[in-house]
Symmetry: C3
Subunit: 194 residues, 3 copies
């Protein structure tokens, strides 16, 4: 095992230890809906996370879902969620082709991520385009990420943004549509000796 | 009966056939709250659509309401919803004078439509202005349509927009406030022979 | 007692008389969660307002909370809400240091007010900055007010705005990020003789 891997695993372990037994039990119950998964926890007393699966797959690492999360998976579509990531309250992910969420991503509450417009414009074909959210991305509350967007590693999306185009790594972006405001310095978290 | 009418009716029939018996039963129950109505279906297992009627009227054609829809109708106000249209999850319509939604409109989830600011600015009179949404309009999720706006036939409003001014027919508009981004070509759906 | 004070008290009294016994009973129940409070009413049949208090304080005057309101109070943080103000449906207030909402403020539904980004940027310290909302401010539905913002007396924030910087008194502001659109004339409500 690489040093980096052991570091990552240790941090995930740390993260998961913070959760109550009840969150783990709810996570186990929820993980029935997932094709493959690591340790999954479900947080919050509101409406249980909901999966509307029309024939696709969900692959989740060690991750956390909050109350009210809604995952809509189309036929043959795949949603991939990395380890150490969470989807906060009422986040909606609509997947008709592919949505990838990396490791250690923070998806805040009321976020919408869609790889499809769901309806074609009359006279045109409905075109779905994958959404890729790389590792360590942080998406602020009530943002919308639309089809075909790639958000680069470590980027931050400000609250209330609508992301319609690619955002480069380590950028801080915001607005409707989202534009790069500034760039953050990214310090890779240090290896923790266990 | 005109050829066009028979076409429209056939398409509505097609649309309604897709719904389950349970959606029709819930639709019947919901239609008690409507002044006049066609075939109404209610979709989704969340909170039942809610009408807060302070003395106005709702006239609905053959249409579909999703869970969490909320209609607030003021005294003497009227809400008109055409046939073949739907209001998706948690859409809120606030009517103090008049809101008209045409035929075959797609109103996505979390949309807010208001013909009133609900509060006057001190020293001014509260002015309500009708909202007109013409046929075949598609309003993207989490958009807000404010008082006095007319959205022309076949226009598309991008997700997360705030519409404060008129949008011409066949335009694709978006942003806060919403501006025309481009124009779509609109192909009138062909008559279907039954 | 100053004439102005008696005026204010009379208007609050008028406001509270409009509420039902049931709203007052729910208000009493809710006020257990408040450190100090005046007459509190709770409106709406949806989910009861929720307080997540990690060791801070809430000081509320005579005010009104709607269904689905959520107050998250961090350790040592304080939330102050003036008299004659209300927080409409599903408003979220996140307080890590201090949020002050003045008297006679109208906070519309789905508003988010945060004095913290909740997460630091890696390599930086998480910096919280108080949010001050002065008297007679009206915040339109689904707006977001971010850390460090002061909204001046009598200002109006348009629906769907994201407020990232100070807004001067009596301004009407809107957009993402919010900018001043115009200035209102503010007529101080006249003293009412009781």
């Amino acid at each position: 095992m690489k040093d980096e891997d052991s570091n990552v695993l240790f941090r995930i372990k740390l993260r998961l230890q913070r959760h109550s037994l009840w969150e783990h039990i709810k996570g186990l119950w929820f993980s029935r809906k997932l094709s493959t998964h690591g340790i999954v926890v479900v947080t919050g007393s509101g409406s249980f996370p909901k999966v509307i699966n029309r024939g696709g797959e969900i692959h989740a690492g060690h991750c956390q879902f909050y109350e009210g999360v809604r995952l809509e998976i189309g036929k043959g579509a795949s949603l991939i969620i990395g380890s150490g990531s969470y989807l906060n309250r009422n986040t909606l992910v609509v997947v008709e082709t592919k949505v990838e969420i990396g490791n250690f991503c923070k998806i805040a509450w009321d976020v919408i991520i869609m790889d499809s417009d769901l309806h074609p414009i009359e006279g045109k074909i409905l075109e779905n385009k994958p959404v890729i959210i790389e590792d360590h991305v942080w998406i602020g509350c009530r943002s919308i990420v639309l089809k075909g967007v790639r958000i680069g590693k470590g980027a931050i999306i400000a609250a209330g943004s609508v992301v319609t185009k690619d955002i480069p790594a380590y950028a801080i972006a915001g607005g409707v549509p989202a534009r790069v405001i500034t760039t953050r310095s990214f310090i890779e978290p240090q290896a923790i000796k266990s």
